[in-house]
Amino acid sequence: MLIKKPRNIKSSDITPESVYLNRRKLLQAAGLSGTAALLPQVTRAADIPARYRKLEGIIKSPYSTSQEPNPFEDVSTYNNFYEFGTNKSDPVDNSGNFKPQPWSVTIDGAAEVTGTFSFEDIMAPHTLEERTYRLRCVEAWSMVVPWVGIPLGDLLKRFKPTSNAKYVAFETIVRPSEMPGQHRPILDWPYREGLRIDEAMHPLTILATGLYGVELPNQNGAPLRLVVPWKYGFKSIKSIVRISFTETMPYTSWSDALPGEYGFYANVNPEVDHPRWSQARERPIGAGFFASKIPTLMLNGYAEQVAGLYTGMDLAKNF
């Protein structure tokens, strides 16, 4: 399969910091800085709390979008992570006791190399890349997030999956003492997700360990999470402790809870509505009070790179 690179990647397209700063000054001069909810904001390095460890040796990636990322504040306070509660502010409010270190991941199933590996061993051979991706939530809002991570495919290949490995299944940790949302059986814990092996091997699919150049905040799925930018956000499972190569389509949490509303594929698709709301448009988070919704793009704007994975499939049926 031919992998096309996105067109919009020139680094000169990215707004230099000085422009942000000037814009801020202009707004302040106009006396507008108090209208917090009405104006979009931008993140500078100084806005990221010092408690987050900086990640070293990150290289840029041609797969990044040149769209301006949402501020760190939005990315780290507006989350869906039901293990910490079902409100958007619950993850940041309730994840303070979560301990992402030490961490290990079990690799099992149809592969030659299996076992339990420390987070450090998992990451050691890989080079961290910054991947600024659009994120489209199934609830019809979106953000742009500068993830830091590694291509999932590069990692999976190290375990030498056999020809029986048709799918890859993922599991989130179960730790109710540190994840208060797990005290109630809202979903059938552990949270589980899965991909077809070719989706998992696709170069756009990454395992993220950070964002904005620092390690992942707990509320964003520390220390290790999936990011599949052309699928609704719930596919991008957080705080992963198990990766299994399977022959049959794995169990996935949301499609088990509400099979009529969430499918295995969960590809972003403006033409297939959720039964209770339209998926044709989305609200970009941080665009302010009177910014209108924007049209949702097929496969979240990554169709050029990934549509080939689904040739001949009825996407309305395989939603």
Binding site: G34, A37, S89, R184, I186, A257, R276, R283
Partner: protein, 208 residues
């Protein structure tokens, strides 16, 4: 048990109640402009929708609680708070609706029509709002006199509004129905108390 005097109700209780019901609006206004350290967070449009929606529902349940409270405590003056509270519900639902129309949908008539026709929770919301407007218009003394006994009947619509609003809430949550269940439970208790008193009244009427 002591009852407040008419003067106390008019000059103390009602103004305090008025201000108490206004508090969510004050909070929202401050938060919209980022004043007093308040903020609507990363998605101000949705936060406004949810915040004002939940307060509309709470005040609706308060409105519905006044009669049962009167029946249980004998504090007749409580009824004098009913109209003001009900009008506040209309006020908050109107903000909820305008927030939906303008910031949320950007007045896109196609999308709004599709929502009203296809999304049952929106359909229910519109039905509840329509009923609330009718009750709001006919809440004046003039209309009360004009409608006579029919006024009472018309204003029983408020029960239907309660059921519509709770179902509206229930149908729009993604998975976790705990909160809507609690509100629906409170509504059921409030309606239950009325049914109970109605049954007692009927039995007494039969005996005499």
């Amino acid at each position: 048990m002591n009852f407040p005097t008419t003067r106390q109700v008019r000059w103390l209780i009602k103004p305090v109640w008025f201000l108490a019901c206004l508090a969510p609006f004050v909070w929202l206004t401050l938060a919209v402009f980022g004043l007093a350290g308040l903020s609507l967070g990363a998605d101000p449009i949705e936060e406004t929708q949810d915040f004002i929606g939940i307060w509309a529902l709470r005040l609706l349940l308060v409105t519905l609680a006044l009669t049962p409270l009167r029946l249980l405590t004998g504090q007749v003056w409580l009824i004098q708070l009913r109209r003001m509270t009900g009008l506040y519900v209309l006020f908050y639902v109107s903000i909820h609706f305008l927030n939906y129309l303008i910031p949320d949908q950007g007045l896109d008539l196609g999308a709004i029509t599709e929502d009203i026709v296809e999304r049952s929770f929106i359909t229910l919301g519109i039905a509840a709002l329509t009923c609330l407007i009718v009750l709001g218009i006919t809440s004046t003394h003039g209309w009360r006199r004009r409608l006579g006994r029919r006024w009472q009947k018309l204003h029983r619509l408020v029960y239907a509004i309660g059921i519509l609003a709770c179902t509206h809430f229930w149908w729009q949550v993604k998975l976790d129905t705990l909160e809507p269940t609690i509100y629906a439970g409170i509504l059921a208790v409030l309606l239950g108390v009325r049914v109970y008193f109605r049954l007692i009244k009927n039995r007494k009427a039969q005996q005499s």
